[in-house]
């Protein structure tokens, strides 16, 4: 899995590419955990290039979301393809994580 990190003035877009599975997810974990440790982290995870995920990925999003909130920031998910959207729906994690249709919509909240 490849992770592209793009920093804008007031937020960071993290774009994982490929399968988000327990055995492929480390690069994404490393990228997110660095950013959430900063001051007021504002993170958009652009899922448009992620083709599927397991619960380890969802667990990572929850963990990063909590750490971002603790540091006065936020983490938002964007552009989830149907398979990922379904995984989020089944686990009811949309009660905790916000999922936006596009990166732009996520940035504006």
């Amino acid at each position: 899995m490849n992770v592209v990190v793009r920093e804008a003035a007031d937020h960071t877009v993290v774009r994982p590419e490929g399968r988000l599975y327990f055995d492929t997810i480390d690069p994404l974990r490393d990228a997110l955990l660095v950013i959430v440790a900063g001051e007021r982290p504002r993170i958009v995870v652009d899922l448009s290039a992620a083709d599927r995920c397991d619960s380890s990925a969802l667990n990572l999003f929850v963990q990063a979301h909590r750490m971002a909130a603790r540091h006065g920031g936020w983490l938002r998910l964007a552009a989830a393809p149907p398979a990922l959207r379904r995984a989020i729906d089944i686990t009811n994690l949309d009660r905790l994580l916000t999922v936006h249709d596009s990166v732009e919509a996520a940035v504006t909240g």
Binding site: F22, D54, S55, S56, N59, Q63, I90, T91, N92, L96
Partner: protein, 387 residues
């Protein structure tokens, strides 16, 4: 003949009283001599693929018998005694839990015939089945005889925490499978039948290996402690939330379905903590997906929780499963999917297969589909309400 079998049963009880687990085969052989027959215990292996002999220390060990292609295997699958010249194969069960088969052999083939003989065999095997289950925890001989290979640490842990695979009573048949049995990670299940209430649970903790297995052990223990203290479903789930938060610091969560089935009325009350929805099978067809009672996975605080209700009809089956079943992939990367699962379960219902055999075949089909190595645990629980 009837008296001879009674003597054998009494002798088996007497000898087994102070017997070690590894001495059970010798005790059985000794007792069976009252009837003039030889007996061999065959226990199904952990993966339910072959029957493996449990023999007296120092005796030659015969080769394992594949369940799918031998007469002994058919007796195990159908739980019906069958004979061949000089030999009778009798199902070996602990109550309703399938353990294996008992081979009864006699040099004088005429000894093996007759309804009275078979009835005596059945009684002897029933006691022996109970004794296998009772003696097993006190040593490794019985447990080891059921293993074809080394078990992972996580798997060893999970098998300690889950109840036996099958239970049946007048109003309920419940069976479960947990695969790949030597490398189980984060899946688990639980049940308890008391009075008119059957409690059911299936769980799947994020991740793989020991940490996932520990998560499930924590969630299962928390729910069990709460249940035994008299808590209802809502509080049982909250107990798991608290215990998981205490255990894990990385928001590791456990998806689960927890439910209670009223055995008098057939009303199933359940909550679904981020888990694939269970399926209801009625007159051989899947008629409903239990997708209410939703909350977030156990371990994530979720106050938004409503217990759902579903009224079952007599004979309905409820299938609970983990996503390792539907998310298994073949070599080309194609998902096993819910549709294949539904087709299999409906086909086996049409064949009138009992619940344990249905799940054995479904789980093996999923494992084969995934080339023998699924990416995740494959767990299924099938509950039939039979008022």
């Amino acid at each position: 003949m009837r008296q001879a079998w009674r003597d054998a049963v009494v002798e088996l009880l007497r000898v087994a009283h102070l017997g070690q687990p590894d001495e059970l085969p010798a005790a059985a052989s000794h007792a069976a001599r009252q009837v003039g027959v030889d007996v061999t215990l065959w226990l199904v292996d952990q993966e339910q693929v072959a029957l493996r002999p449990l023999v007296e220390h120092g005796k030659p060990v015969p080769e394992a018998l594949p369940v799918d292609s031998t007469l002994a295997g058919r007796v195990f699958m159908a739980l019906k005694t069958a004979g061949q010249p000089g030999r009778l194969w009798v199902p070996l069960v602990d109550g309703s839990e399938r353990l294996g088969v008992l081979e009864v052999a006699a040099a004088d083939a005429d000894r093996l015939g007759g309804a009275e003989f078979e009835e005596g065999c059945g009684t002897f095997a029933a006691l022996l089945g109970h004794l296998v289950a009772v003696k097993a925890p006190y040593g490794d001989a019985i447990v080891r005889s059921r293993r074809s290979r080394r078990m992972s640490v996580a798997s060893e842990l999970v098998w300690q925490v889950v109840p036996p695979l099958t239970f049946a009573c007048d109003r309920l048949v419940l069976s479960a499978v947990l695969e790949p049995s030597y490398e189980v990670g984060g899946d688990g299940f639980d049940y308890a039948i008391d009075g008119y209430v059957a409690y059911l649970a299936i769980m799947d903790t994020v991740g793989h290996g020991l940490r996932a297995g520990l998560g499930t052990a924590v969630a299962l223990s928390a729910t069990r402690a709460a249940r035994r203290a008299g808590d209802g479903l809502y509080a049982i789930a909250r107990a798991a939330d608290e215990a998981l938060v205490e255990y894990t610091h990385d928001a590791r969560f456990t998806t689960a379905v927890l439910g209670t089935l009223n055995l008098d009325t057939g009303v199933l009350r359940y909550l679904n903590a981020g888990h694939p929805p269970p399926l209801v099978l009625r007159r051989g067809r899947i008629v409903r997906r239990l997708d209410q009672g939703r909350r977030m996975p156990l371990g994530l605080d979720d106050a938004q929780i409503e217990i759902a209700e579903e009224a079952l009809e007599p004979g309905d089956r409820v299938l609970l499963y983990t996503d390792g079943v539907t998310e298994s992939r073949d070599a080309a990367g194609a998902l096993f999917g819910e549709r294949r699962l539904v087709e299999l379960v409906e086909r086996y219902a049409a064949d009138a297969l009992p619940a344990p055999e249905t799940l054995r075949r479904v789980s093996h089909t999923v494992l084969e589909y995934a080339g023998g190595a699924p990416g995740d645990d494959v767990t299924l629980v099938l509950v039939e309400w039979t008022p």
